[in-house]
């Protein structure tokens, strides 16, 4: 039986794990290698690491850290942050990163197609950070949510699929860390527009939210806060639903 993937999406900053709210207010939540070991035990479907410091500081990926993560990750994992060249992508694949995640650098027209040519589309994810404007219109943001591309996420996603993106990681900036549910309209629009899998992220606070995302067209649901915080005071605790729970959820 195939069920939708549930993916912890973890933020790295200067070698540590952090969690943000609406892309700001990052809070340290622990050591990434330790987190990977716990997620191994919990038999997590897949992991995504996004390094916020790699982008904003203009540094490339932290290869040493990623090598350590790869040697402990016995599930598929994706990495994004600070990727600008094909050489970096080649190096990431050779370390054992299954999927590379491109955000800001997707505006460089050649990089996505070159990456797909290197290892096939299913190893290339384009992450789209979208925000709804004052009049309800969605727009794509890059550079960690700071630069507005003034482009509709639907046409952007279609364009990325054409260039060779094998998966879209669709993030609703204003839902990040809020834990009140995904932006279902955004998920529906983008999922209908592309034939590649859409991974919804931003807003998950309960198992019910995962089901809603999938019902609106997502092939997988990702979350941050839900897997690193526990209780109303948001104590740091790494959790992940049991397989039987997830099976029941999607039945």
């Amino acid at each position: 039986m195939h069920i939708a993937r549930i993916i912890p999406c973890l933020l790295l900053k200067n070698g540590g794990l952090v969690k943000t709210v609406r892309f700001k207010k990052d809070r340290y939540v622990g050591d990434p290698i330790n987190a990977v070991r716990i997620f191994n035990e919990k038999e997590v479907d897949e992991l995504v690491f996004l390094d916020t410091s790699a982008t904003s500081a203009g540094n490339g990926p932290n290869f040493r850290l990623l090598e350590d993560i790869a040697s402990e990750a016995f599930m598929p994992f994706g990495y994004g942050g600070g990727i600008t060249t094909l050489e970096q992508i080649r190096r990431l694949y050779s370390l054992g990163v299954e999927k590379i995640v491109i955000n800001t650098a997707a505006t460089n027209p050649g990089l996505v197609s070159d990456a797909a040519g290197l290892a096939g589309s299913s190893s290339v994810v384009v992450s789209i950070d979208a925000r709804r404007g004052l009049f309800g219109k969605y727009s794509v943001y890059v550079e960690g949510g700071r630069r507005d591309l003034k482009t509709d996420p639907v046409s952007y996603a279609r364009d990325m699929e054409k260039r060779g993106a094998g998966e879209i990681l669709l993030n609703a900036i204003d839902r990040d860390g809020v834990m009140e549910g995904y932006d279902l309209e955004l998920i529906r629009r983008v999922s209908e527009a592309v034939s590649v899998p859409v991974v919804a992220v931003g807003g998950a606070g309960s198992l019910k939210h995962f089901r809603e995302a999938v019902e609106h067209g997502a092939s997988a649901a990702a979350a941050g806060s839900m897997f690193v915080f526990h209780g109303k005071h948001k104590a740091v605790l790494i959790t992940y639903p049991k397989y039987d729970e997830m099976r029941k959820l999607f039945e």
């Binding site: 195939h2 993937r5 790869a70 054992g96 299954e98 096939g120 299913s122 094998g166």
Partner: protein, 202 residues
Amino acid sequence: MIAVVSYGVCNLGSMLNMLRKINVEACEASTPAAIEKAEKIVLPGIGAFDNGIKALNALGLAEPLRDRVVNGKVPILGVCLGMQLLGTGSEEGVQAGLGLIQGGCVKLRPPEGVGVKIPHMGWNTVHPKKAGPLLEKLDAPRFYFVHSYHLLCKDPTDVLATAHYGMDFTVMVQRGNIYGAQFHPEKSHRYGMTLLGNFAGV
């Protein structure tokens, strides 16, 4: 010692990491000489069928692989594209495969209206069709898949296991010393560890 075939169409990091984790000795094999003395072979691979077979041929590995497996009776495990390459060809391309398993690859075509996206990406349960060493000690196994094509065996007794994604299809084969897995055991937690450990023990 398992020789993991290195031919440029996928990176071996994950496979070597996983084998190290379960204390199985492994090395990269990228030359005919390395294949000729291999005691056990893993053929990984991702991407397009023709790219894979051309890359094997460009390094002169296809013939030694066939010889080692057919005449030397060395166990081989094809993984993902590596399993597809064991067959005779694929709809995805025009090149001939290794021909170690009779049958070619076809695109996954679930019936219309079942609403599943291709590629088949994610975790799925695997259902054994016959007894074989690879699936020993595995209770209700599930594995991580990423693929759009699947192998169609001419001889149904070669089918070791199937999965369901809009339709039933072959995900594992075994014919004597020749094994294939469409999924990624190296990325499938304890299920993959057990399977690779079983292969190391055959």
